[in-house]
Structures are given as structure tokens and as C-alpha cells.
Symmetry: C2
């Protein structure tokens, strides 16, 4: 029997409880605090000796605090004699820096994943990790859950929509959703200048006139990309535009920016803590994660 | 020829410049920024291919941001083909959690040091790392610089003082200073309840009547320990009490707390950024660090 151990963040606890309940596993949350000087402290208060552990850590900003707490937590589990350690990272930070774009840059996600493996994480399960390349830097066993088809179906969409990726790199995401719905897919090419950060978008000959469009992406950060793509689609005559995005970082003003572009609804998941908002539909992805874990945990 | 590369913090840059200048080495500071979502970015803009590198990272709060930037920086240096990587960490965070005090705790400093080694740091030079045990968790070559005798001499003290450790664990620090000055040393036993955090102090038969006392410690965090020790010494008739402490974290109210206990002067080092304060004397420790590095860098 494995045990689910969540980090000290409220959302880690929530996801850990959901997961443990679905898998019918024991659940414990670590004791966590911050010392007056800003250093973190964690303590595993249940016995984990000889037991396989599924660690659940939510990585909303401040991401670095979540990462360091996770490092300490894994060290504590190894110290306490835990068996195999699996990390469920609903949202993996630093995944977008999955290669060197300009000479002198790190592969940030490699530094993170090598570190977690080096400390004792043997298996990693993440939801939509931006790219397979990002996950290739983890030296252990990896599962990358793609929740988009599931989310698209649960949001009530059918085969009559046009599924659009706002980025060339996201084309397979849009295709996967389109396939699940029996719909067509297309894309807008986003070009980001790596130095200035300025984004330009090229919709080519895309013709959404009279169509209900679903824009599909992995991350809602500032909302700039999704807002711009939606604006272009509406300008070109789309009847409606809605968005499905796996991870909503819930940065200040981001939801408003996307909705301000004319988007009628945003569907996201609970990989990160979500606000209450009438235009935001949140889908629980722990059933998918539990399904994956059930394959290799007894 | 090695090259000194500092992290993006202002104090990292300052210490890196001091060190490079003393060692007559090339110096470069990384480009660093924070993305809108809170993730950090670093980039090494000078060529380091084939060159040994001395990384300088100042770790004042927020420590976790400093640690993650350091992880990314080391990854970037390895990616760029750097030779041997030495880390100069003027202040090593998490060093006080150098063992398991209560079952279920991590050895936090082990998690940090294993991580840095795993990413490519081969040699580590730190100033007063709290305990030799803390550094024993680094699997590479380590130098722990003890700046206290140097600081005591530069602060103009002589053999007529009584050197006091405010903690049993710091007795060898006080002895080292006393030896350097030709003075006597003693201690107060500090007992910290690991659960409640409550500290009690036992000065035993210590008799400081009529003496000028120097309290010596490694870290000034909230100032509670140093203030309490100083108060006891003055109550027992010490003529004056001053403090020498290697690392001043400069937390809000801490200096005032120590000075409010009747301490006449605090001498600290520049391992962390320091404020301007008339009762605070700051000693540059980079000459000591440069001396150590000069032994193994050509």
C-alpha cells in the first residue's frame, strides 16, 4: 500500500486528498512553516518507513518556494526510510525553458528535474508538461497526462466546432482535442522574439467565419497569447470563441485580458488553485491521474 | 585562468567584483530577470567554454529565489562547457537544519548541497557554515572559512576582554577568537525547545563583573539569542558588551533588539548585504576567501 503525502500548500492538500480518496490510499499532509529568516521547514508526521509514497506538490507562484519545499520534503521521506517515491506535480514550473534558445541560457527544467531525481524521486507524473522534451530531462519513469480531450468533452463541446492552437508548437494539442470531438483543427503561428519578448501572430489563411471556435493551449500566464489569438479569430468572423487551457496561473488581470478579447468562456483544470468566476469552468483532473497511478500502484 | 561569475543580485555582483579584483581574474555578472509568472531566468553572456569558473551567489532572503537562480546558473555554465565549477557561497542558507532533530524532518542543508553538487558544483567555499556537519553533506571539496579571529582583530580588541559564546554549540568559535586575542573565553548554554521554539539560557557560574565582554556568534537572525545573552551579561555586572557575528541577516528590528539589550557595538561581515548604521561595523571577508582560492586557482 502506498501513502499519499502532500506538501503544506492548501492546494497540495486538496489535490492530495482527492487523489488518495480516488485511489483509496492513506493520506497525510506535511507540517510546514517558515522561519523568521524566510527559510522553510517541513516535517513528515506519519510513518512512511518501507512504504511507497506519492508526493503531491502544487506549484503555483511563488514557484521557487514550492520547489524548495519539495526538495526538503523528498529528503525527509528518504531520511524516514520511504520506499519508492513518486511525484505528482500537477503543474511543472520552468517547463517552457526546455532547451537553450540563446547561448548562455540554462535548460531550467533539466536543473529542476535532475535535482528531484537526485534527491530520490523515482517516478514523475505531471499534467500537460508543455513538451515531451521538457520531460525527457527526468532520468526516471515519467507519465505526462494529457487532459485536454477529457476537458473538451466535459465542457460539452461537439464535432461542429473549429479547434485552434494559438501557437505552432501546440498543434498536436489542438489535433488531439479535435479528434476526440470529431471536429476540425487549425492553428495560428505565434512568433516570440527571444530577446525582446515581443510576440507577433500570423493566422495565415485561417477562415473561421460563422464558426464556433475553441482555442486550446497549455498555460494561461499573462493571457496575452490567448487574448490576441481570440481577437484575430473574432475579427475574421468567428461566431464565438471559447478557450480551453490546462493550467491557469491566475496572474492578476489575466482572466480579464482574455475575456476582454471577446472570449465567452474559459475552461481550465484544477492543476493550480482557481478563483471563482462565472466565465471560468474548472475541471478536476485527479480522476485521470488516479487512473494512471492505479496501473502501477497496488 | 579562472573566471568569476556572479549571480544577478546586487550583493553577488559586489562580492564577485571584490573577489575577482583581489585574484586578478576576469569577472562577469549573469543577466537575470523574472518572468511575469514569477519564474526566474538567467543567462551567462560571456564565454566560459573550457574555463574554470568561480560562481558567487549571495543568499540573503528570499533564500529560495537565490537557490533556484543558483541552480539555473550552474546548469547554464555546464551547458556552456565550463571547466571546474567552484561555488563561493558567502552565507549558506539552511545550514542550521544540519541533522534530524525530530523524526520526519529533512536534513535541509543536505538537500541543498547534494543538489548543487549534482548539477555540477565541484568545489564549495563558504564562510562560517554553522557546523562542520552541515558541510559534510557536500560530496565534493569544501573549504569553510572562519573569519572570526580576523574580524576580532580588525575590530580593535585585545587580550583584556572576555569572549563569550551564547550557545554551547558555539564554544569553539569563542575559543578561537579568545586564542587569537590572547583572551579568556566562556559560554552561556542556550536550550531551544525544538517544538515550541522557546529558548532558555543558563549562564551557570559565569562571572563577567567589571569585564569588557565580546559575545561571538555565527548568525544574527531575529537577534533574540544575542540580546538575551547580552542582557544576562550586563545584569551580572559586565562593564560593556559588544557583539561579533559573522552573518547579519538584517531582519526587521533585529539590530535594534540587540542594541536595545545594551550592546555597545556590533561587528559583522559583508557575507550578506548590510545597512548603514553607526553601531554596526562591517568587515570585508573577501581577502580571506581570495587567500583560500589563490591556493588552488592559478
Amino acid at each position: 500500500m502506498a501513502i499519499v503525502v502532500s506538501g503544506s500548500r492548501a492546494h497540495s492538500r486538496l489535490l492530495g486528498e482527492l487523489l488518495a480518496s480516488r485511489l483509496n490510499l492513506r493520506f497525510t499532509v506535511v507540517e510546514g512553516k517558515r522561519f523568521p529568516d524566510g527559510e522553510l521547514y517541513v516535517r513528515v508526521t506519519s510513518s512512511v518507513k518501507g512504504e511507497d509514497v506519492i508526493v503531491v506538490q502544487s506549484m503555483e507562484p511563488p514557484q521557487n518556494d514550492a520547489l524548495v519545499e519539495l526538495m526538503l520534503l523528498v529528503d525527509a521521506l528518504v531520511e524516514a526510510g520511504a520506499g519508492d517515491i513518486t511525484l505528482f506535480a500537477p503543474y511543472l514550473p520552468y517547463a517552457r525553458q526546455d532547451r537553450v534558445f540563446l547561448a548562455g541560457e540554462p535548460v531550467s527544467v533539466r536543473a529542476i528535474l535532475k535535482t528531484l531525481h537526485g534527491l530520490g524521486v523515482r517516478r514523475l507524473i505531471v499534467v500537460e508538461a508543455h513538451s515531451e522534451r521538457a520531460l525527457s530531462h527526468f532520468p526516471g519513469y515519467v507519465v505526462n497526462v494529457n487532459p485536454l480531450p477529457y476537458m473538451a468533452k466535459l465542457s460539452g463541446l461537439g464535432g461542429d466546432v473549429l479547434v485552434v492552437s494559438p501557437d505552432l508548437g501546440g498543434i498536436s494539442r489542438a489535433r488531439g482535442v479535435a479528434e476526440a470531438l470529431g471536429a476540425r483543427s487549425s492553428y495560428i503561428a505565434k512568433v516570440r522574439d527571444r530577446v525582446t519578448g515581443v510576440i507577433s501572430m500570423d493566422a495565415g489563411s485561417l477562415d473561421p467565419r460563422g464558426l464556433d471556435v475553441v482555442v486550446v493551449d497549455d498555460i494561461l500566464s499573462t493571457g496575452g497569447t490567448l487574448a490576441e489569438a481570440s481577437r484575430i479569430l473574432l475579427e475574421r468572423g468567428a461566431r464565438s470563441v471559447q478557450v480551453i487551457v490546462v493550467h491557469n496561473l491566475n496572474l492578476p488581470g489575466a482572466l480579464e485580458r482574455v475575456l476582454g478579447a471577446g472570449v465567452s468562456r474559459i475552461t481550465t483544470s484544477n492543476t493550480l488553485p482557481q478563483p471563482d468566476h462565472q466565465a471560468l469552468k474548472v475541471i478536476d483532473v485527479t480522476p485521470l491521474v488516479a487512473g494512471e497511478i492505479a496501473r502501477w500502484v497496488s
